[in-house]
């Protein structure tokens, strides 16, 4: 009865992405909460700092980057928590398929679910925060390259802390320092563009970081998960 035809790697990745999207669709909180956090937190800054447009345009890129970063970091909670608690993680670790690609697929789906909506909204908020038009493109490009890095790094942190019942701010303390380079380059791109300087160099750097993160972090995530289920 069990005529197990093997599946290629591609279809495993596709199946993982499908499952994660399905889950997000079933519990919309995973999609909506990071987005709402982003929206509310971005509005906090004009409230807290005064609302004249000169001031706002000065802080716009920083605010959007920092808020995105926080939203991604705290959204990480939903990446492995449920799988850890119901035992799916053990099954994943027992799977003969290479964990590397499975984890990459999982993080990719998380990016699609939690970050893409933010990415789409970010330019709108940039405009609301009176960012000059010249800054929008580098902002988007930077976020496009930077947010996957943030997800991958965050996944490492989450994998390390998933076994602890109260991770909360511990995750933040572990991961935020790693996020700093991304933040610096991301906002650097915008301010370069606003000073009408070329920002391709920074973008390339960000791209390099992205490629490195994609290649290396699944290894770290896998190692961390094995430690956590132990």
């Amino acid at each position: 009865m069990m005529n197990n035809s093997r599946m290629g790697l591609g279809s495993v990745v596709v199946a993982t992405v499908r499952r994660e999207l399905l889950l997000a669709f079933r519990s919309p909180g995973d999609v909506i909460n990071p987005l709402m956090f982003f929206i509310i937190a971005v509005t906090l800054f004009p409230l807290g700092g005064g609302a004249d447009s000169a001031f706002l345009s000065g802080i716009a890129s920083g605010v959007i980057w920092v808020t995105t970063l926080l939203a991604i970091m705290f959204s990480m909670e939903s990446l492995f928590r449920a799988d850890y608690e119901d035992g799916s993680l053990e099954q994943l670790l027992m799977s003969p398929q290479p964990l590397y690609f499975l984890l990459l697929a999982k993080v990719l789906s998380h990016w699609l679910i939690a970050c893409l909506p933010i990415l789409i909204l970010a330019p709108v908020f940039a405009v609301m925060l009176a960012m000059p038009v010249a800054g929008i493109l580098p902002l988007i490009l930077g976020l496009l390259a930077g947010t996957p890095i943030l997800c991958l790094l965050g996944a490492i942190g989450m994998a390390l802390t998933v076994g602890l019942s109260r991770s909360g701010l511990l995750l933040a303390v572990l991961i935020l320092p790693l996020y700093i380079p991304v933040l610096v380059f991301g906002t650097g791109m915008v301010s370069a563009a606003l000073d009408s300087l070329p920002y391709t160099g920074l973008l390339a750097l960000m791209g390099a970081m992205l490629v490195l993160a994609i290649c290396l972090s699944p290894l770290a995530i896998a190692a961390a998960l094995r430690i956590s289920v132990n």
Binding site: S27, P28, G29, M36, I40, A51, M128
Partner: protein, 253 residues
């Protein structure tokens, strides 16, 4: 009257009663909204300062009022659920949240659209605008909270507490224009004299739209509540009968 109210407390009676009232309500709403909107859009003289632009008022004002009204209603029903455990009250409160959120969003959007030409900005962090935005966030928070619970009862009670906590925002929205110097205008004074500020030809169509929008709100609320009843009472015999009946109807059609 009290009897009638009590009947609405039973899901089944709520369902059958609203079945009866819905067509009437729909017709009244269509008529009110139709005349009101047409009147406001085309038959009211333009404002001496803002010209045609002020026709946005016929949407903005009722939406803003209704947004607050909806929140107040949600809070009342929440309290009703917390105190007397009336299940229908919670279903209504649940239905209020998404409707209220969309209405608040429209009030914000139309306010912004109106603000661009009149004020010279589409957004300013003044008290009324900010507190309205907070109300939108509260609505979203309540929706999110409910969807986070597996157990219906716990979710219902948690949302009830949150909506009651959020009630403090209502007086802030309402009186912010009096307490602070806001860019937003204060409350209008209405007069029947047609040479006064805000003469009847300005506000009568607004009344039509206002009641029309109220009708729409009630319809949307009832529709959602009925769905919720079907879902939660799915094990009751009358729901099964209803569904079977539906089947037959669609079979005939």
């Amino acid at each position: 009257m009290w009897q009638w109210f009590l009947q609405l407390g039973s899901p089944r009676l709520f369902y059958s009663k609203t079945d009866r009232y819905l067509p009437w309500l729909s017709w009244i709403t269509v008529i009110l909204l139709g005349t009101g909107l047409a009147w406001g859009l085309a038959f009211t003289p333009p404002d001496y300062q803002m010209g045609e632009n002020y026709r946005i008022a016929y949407i903005h004002v009722p939406m803003a009022t209704l947004a607050m009204g909806c929140y107040a209603m949600m809070a009342c029903f929440s309290a009703g659920y917390l105190i007397w455990k009336i299940k229908v009250a919670d279903m209504i409160a649940k239905a209020c949240a998404p409707i209220g959120a969309s209405i608040t969003a429209v009030a914000l959007a139309t306010g912004s659209l109106w603000g661009i030409p009149t004020w010279g900005t589409w957004w300013i962090w003044d008290a009324r605008l900010t507190s309205t935005l907070i109300m939108l966030f509260l609505y979203v928070g309540i929706i999110a909270l409910r969807s986070a619970f597996d157990s219906i009862d716990s979710g219902a009670r948690a949302c009830a507490v949150l909506s009651l906590v959020g009630v403090v925002n209502l007086p802030i929205i309402k009186y912010s224009v009096d307490w602070w110097n806001t860019l937003h205008q204060g409350a209008s004074n209405l007069s029947l004299s047609d040479t006064a500020a805000n003469p009847p030809e300005v506000w009568i169509p607004a009344f039509f739209v206002g009641f029309g929008v109220l009708g729409f709100f009630l319809i949307a609320l009832i529709l959602r509540t009925r769905n919720e009843i079907l879902l939660r009472e799915r094990r009751a015999q009358w729901v099964s009968d209803l569904v079977e009946g539906n089947q037959k109807e669609s079979g005939h059609a």
